[in-house]
Structures are given as C-alpha cells and as structure tokens.
C-alpha cells in the first residue's frame, strides 16, 4: 500500500478549478517534487496533502485513511502526528527563540523536550543559534529552524512548499543537503517547487499545469 494515494482529486473555488482530476501515488521513503508555474495548483495540492484543506471531489488516502472525508478535528490530529510542514516564508513565531520554535511543535504533539529540540537544531547546524530570536537569524538559518521544527516529531511525510524560494545559493545547497540526508534516513519527502534545479534533486517530478497533472519525470540520475 502506498503511503499517499490521490485518486481523481479536484478542488473547486467558485468558477475556478484549482485542481482538476489529479491522481498521484507516493511510496514510503520516496522523494517527489511537484513542479509547475504560478497558479498551476501546487500549493492547493500541498494544502490538501497537508490536511489544511479538503478536496472537493476524489479520495486522498494517507496510510490508507481517506483524509478527504475526515473532520477538522481529525485532520488536526493527522497534521500533528504524521506530517512535517516546511514553508517558503518559514513562519516562525517571532517572539520565541529558535529552540522554542522547535519545542512548540513538540508541545502540541506530546511533551516538549529541550534536549531533543537542541539535537534537532544541531542536525541542521544551528545548535549555537538556539537562543536567538528569528529576527536575529538569516533567511537560511530561519529555514533550517523550520526544517528542525518539521522533523522533531518524526513525521511519516515531510511537505515542503518552495523551501528554497527565499534563499541564496549557499543556503539552498545547505537545505538540499539536509533533504538528501533525510531521504537517506527513509523520510518521505514531497517538495513543491518551481525551480528545476531543486526538482532535479528528487527521485520523481510531477508537473502541474492549470490544475492538471501533465507530466511525470523519473530522475534517472538520482543518487543518494
């Protein structure tokens, strides 16, 4: 059974079809990139997979459970227990330090553990910046805090929306290296991007246009 299976999913906003009959399977431990121009439905797809929005029609099976039919309360629990979210804008809590931002995720999941949170920051190379506020961190550092926060609860699937969109080349490489490391460790990664260089790092790339899945590319050169 696939970790994630999307069957004939459409999302309609009034007259607009943001997703139009999309189907996709993601296996456990796979690294998939979702590409497409602006307005192609990438973020909508990420919201649906990330349990932050519901499909208008179709099925979204996560671990065999159709999340399209679940209540908001249940979707919150799925987000908390199974999904790690990484955003282009980082979305860190501005009045909490780096380590506290990681601990927030633990707090809503189970129990905050500062030692474990510091280890997560160490993993992304930010242990020495643990007590800094987001405003005292660079964009790349903020994104790494965001990654540490996404990973702290050992999610089954990591969803990253344009994770390198706001980063310079050096920081982009650092983030991609972290993703490679995660993939090696068996984490399932779905990365939404419009950057072909980022997409090329994935095992498989699906291309969306006008809400439709128009192409699927297997990265023949993929190496861990």
């Amino acid at each position: 059974m696939s970790l994630l299976e999307i069957k004939n999913v459409s999302k309609i906003y009034g007259p607009l079809k943001a997703l139009d009959n999309v189907s996709l399977k993601v296996e456990n431990g796979e690294w998939v990139a979702i590409m497409g121009p602006s307005g192609s439905g990438k973020s909508t797809m990420m919201n649906i997979i990330g349990c932050m929005d519901k499909a208008s029609t179709g099925e979204v099976l996560l671990d065999g459970v159709d999340i399209a039919k679940e209540s908001d309360k249940k979707l919150t629990a799925i987000r908390r227990d199974k999904i790690g979210l990484i955003f282009q804008q980082f979305h860190l809590v501005n009045y909490l330090t780096a380590v506290e931002n990681v601990m927030v995720s633990q707090y809503y999941h189970s129990m905050p553990d500062e030692k474990e949170a510091l280890e997560a920051l160490e993993r992304v190379g930010l242990k020495d910046r643990a007590k800094h506020l987001p405003s005292q961190l660079s964009g790349g550092e903020q994104q790494r805090v965001c990654i540490a926060r996404a990973l702290i609860n050992h999610p089954e699937i990591v969803l990253a929306d344009e994770p390198t969109g706001n980063l310079d080349e050096d920081n982009e490489n650092i983030v991609l290296d972290i993703f490679k490391q995660l993939h090696r460790e068996g984490t399932t990664l779905i990365v939404v991007t419009h950057d072909p260089e980022v997409a090329e790092e994935a095992q498989r790339t699906v291309v969306l246009e006008h809400g439709r899945l128009v192409k699927e590319i297997i990265n023949e050169n993929f190496t861990d």
């Binding site: 932050m52 919150t76 227990d81 809590v93 909490l96 601990m103 809503y108 926060r149």
Partner: protein, 429 residues
C-alpha cells in the same frame, strides 16, 4: 512550554500588551472612581445638602395638633412649649452621630423704643456643646442658616461675645436705619433688653423683617426661661424606600417586628423623627418634606448618573479592547495559522491568547484601580471639597467587571481566530 510562550508573547510584544493594558487601565480607573464616588456620594451629598438647612423640625405635640387643625404654619401662636433641659437628649438617640446640627428656637413679639412691634427670635448661633459621649459640637443658626448673606457686620459669636447681641434682617434694618455697631432696645411685658447689632443679614424671606438674638435673651423677653417653641434638626438621612414610606404613612405600629427592626436601625428621616420623639417629651418631630424629598431625589439621580458613566466607560473599554485584540489577532494570524498547522487545537490557541489578555488585564486593572483612586480624590476635592473614602468592596467588583469586559471585548477576536484556516494565512489562499 505554555509559560515560555506566554512569557515570550507578553515580554517580546510589550508595546501591544501595554496598549491593551492602558485601555483596560482607563476603563478600570473610571469604573473605580465612579463606583467609589457612587458609594460615598450619599454621605457627601447629605453633607452638602445640610448647608440648605434643617430637614427635621420638632414642635410641641399640642401646638402641632392645633397647627394641623387650623392650618397655622407659625407654631408661636400656641402656648405649648418644649423643655430646654431635654435638648441634649437629641444627641443620645440611636442615630446620634447622624445628627450634624440642631438649634432651639424661642420667639416673641417685642416693641422697639418708637413703639414699633417686631418679631424677636432667639436661638443658638455657634453654641458649644460638650456631650456626655465625649463628642463636641458647635451648633446653631450660623450653620443651619448658612445661606444667609451678611450685608453688614458679622454673625453673632456666642463663645466670644461680651454682651447681648442681635442680628437684624435687612428689610427691618433698612426701615429702622440700623447698621452693625448700633444698639436696639426691645421691650415686652417681661422686661427690657438693649442689644448691640453685630450683623445685618439678608435671608430672602420673612426672616428679613425679624431680629435674631441669643436664646437666653429671647427667653427673658418672652418670659419662658427653660422653655422653647421648636427645635430644628439637621440629620444625615438615607433616602426613603417602600419600608420608610409605609412607616411614615401608617406609623411604626403597622410594621412587623422584623420590618420595625430594619426601619429603626436605618437612618430614614422617619425613624430619626421617631427616635427624637422618644426622647423629647410631648413633641412631634416631622421631616421638612421638601428638603428630605429633594435629598432623596438628588441622591438617586446622582447615583444613576454615576452608574451610567461607569457602564459607558466599561463599554468604551470593551470596544477599545475588542479593537486592539482583534488587531493583534489579525497581526498574529500567521502565527495562529502556523500553530493550527502544526497541530494545535482551537481551545489551546484560544487558551493561550486569552491568558495573555487576562494577565495584561490584571496589570492594567491594578494600575487602573490606583488611577481611579486618584481620579476619585480629584473629583472629591473638586466637587465636595473632601476626600472620597475608598470602599474595599469596589476591588472585587472592578476585578469581575474588568475580567468580564476583557472577555466580552475579546469575543470578536476569538471568533476570528476560530474561523481562521491555516491554508488561508500560510499560503494566502
């Protein structure tokens, strides 16, 4: 983690929280000031209204009956008297401390040296009383008729006067060509007295055609030593309620024992009158209805005004808090969306935001209480020329009101927060 988040939100967003605290403090200060004034205004208004004269008159029972029968307003036409020796008993009744002033009155008609008949009234002016209770009091016309305008000279000073003194009404003084420092001779069948005019007063009524002198002089002229015609009493009273009206209309005998106890132990004008009658033999004590009713009406209206100001200030605060908290939630929509996205349930986010606001409200409310204390004293000194007593019961009332106002003011923000969907704020959908 909850406390870390709380601490972070409170200390690293100081400016926002200070704005909310200031809004709450302003509401709390007005509520504190108004509630304290409202609770203290009864005494203050009573004291203020005491400057408008006595609110109880005591006359002999016999003259009261005759006055009622023949509708005579001037009790002097009858030959019934009260005993001067019983005067001090007025300060021994249950509500003795509410008796702020009183004075005996004796009057007679005397002839001037040219044969003109004038009404002579004897009373206390600033009569010093040292009561058995240890209380000392200067009582008399000087304070009971504080509205008199002294056109010439001064008030009679009983404590330092050297001889017989008189104050002459302005109309009579003009008619007789008298001014302060002159002397006037008064004769009756009981003798002759020469009085020094120490002051000319304008009372704006019948008293302007009378001569006021000390009580003993008037008694000598009327030949009624040890007796007096009436007593005027100024007492601090509680506005009448249904019980007081029932007691006044149907008499204390119509009350049940419990009602009687309540009535007797409350400073209603009727219960004070009743207690005066108990200590002054063969007397009838009656409220000066115009004054007593006005006091009650003014007091009720003033208290209503205070309540309205308190309510309006709290509504203002609630609106201010609502705007600020809503603006704060809008500003923090990304953070709230993120917390929802990483698995926070609505009640946990609501809990932390409300706790932040309540803690801010506690600090704002405490600051507001002390500001309100200051406002109350400023208002007290400006309006009543005395300080406002701070009532401890205001503290829990203000605390409950502030919590309620803060919670009510936060409702729109909480509703907005509950409706907020993470996808909308995190991905701009």
């Amino acid at each position: 983690m909850f406390f870390r988040m709380l601490k972070g939100a409170l200390f690293r967003q100081k400016s926002k929280m200070i704005m909310i605290a200031i809004t709450i403090a302003l509401g709390a200060s007005l509520a504190t000031a108004m509630l304290n004034i409202m609770l203290d205004v009864g005494d203050k208004m009573n004291q203020e209204l005491k400057t408008y004269g006595a609110n109880i008159t005591v006359v002999p029972k016999e003259s009261s009956v005759i006055d009622d029968l023949y509708e005579i307003e001037d009790g002097s036409t009858t030959k019934a008297f009260l005993k001067e020796e019983e005067l001090g008993k007025i300060k021994t009744i249950f509500w003795a401390f509410n008796i702020v002033d009183f004075a005996p009155f004796s009057d007679t008609t005397a002839a001037l040296s040219d044969g003109t008949a004038v009404k002579v009234v004897g009373s206390w002016f600033n009569h010093h009383l040292a009561l058995p209770t240890g209380e000392e009091l200067d009582a008399g016309v000087t304070s009971l008729r504080s509205w008199w305008e002294i056109k010439d000279g001064e008030w009679i000073d009983e404590q330092n006067s050297e001889g017989n003194s008189a104050m002459v009404g302005s109309v009579l003084a003009e008619k007789l060509g008298l001014s302060a420092g002159d002397t006037v001779t008064l004769s009756t069948d009981n003798g002759k007295e020469t009085l020094k005019v120490v002051g000319i007063f304008d009372a704006g009524g019948d008293e302007d055609e009378q001569i006021f002198t000390t009580h003993d002089v008037a008694q000598k002229l009327s030949g009624t030593e040890g007796l007096l015609n009436s007593i005027e009493v100024s007492a601090l009273t509680t506005p009448d309620n249904e019980l007081a009206v029932k007691a006044a209309k149907e008499g204390p005998g119509s009350l049940t024992p419990k009602e009687y106890e309540t009535w007797y132990c409350t400073a209603y004008v009727s219960s004070i009158c009743y207690q005066i009658q108990e200590v002054i033999t063969d007397s009838v004590a009656a409220p000066v209805r115009q004054v007593a009713d006005s006091e009650g009406t003014i007091l009720e209206k003033t208290q209503l005004l205070m309540i309205l100001i308190t309510i309006l200030s709290l509504i203002g605060s609630a609106l201010g808090i609502s705007n600020l908290v809503t603006a704060s939630v809008m500003e923090r929509s990304n953070e709230i969306g993120l917390l929802k996205a990483i698995g926070a349930r609505d009640y946990r986010i609501t809990g932390i935001v409300l706790t932040e606001i309540i803690i801010t409200a506690v600090f704002g409310g405490a600051a507001g209480y002390f500001m309100g204390y200051g406002f109350a004293q400023i208002i007290g000194q400006t309006v009543f020329s005395s300080s406002i007593e701070m009532k401890p019961m205001v503290i829990p009332i203000v605390a409950v009101l502030i919590v309620l106002v803060t919670l009510i003011g936060s409702i729109p923000a909480i509703r907005m927060m509950l409706r907020l969907r993470p996808a909308e704020v995190l991905h701009g959908r």
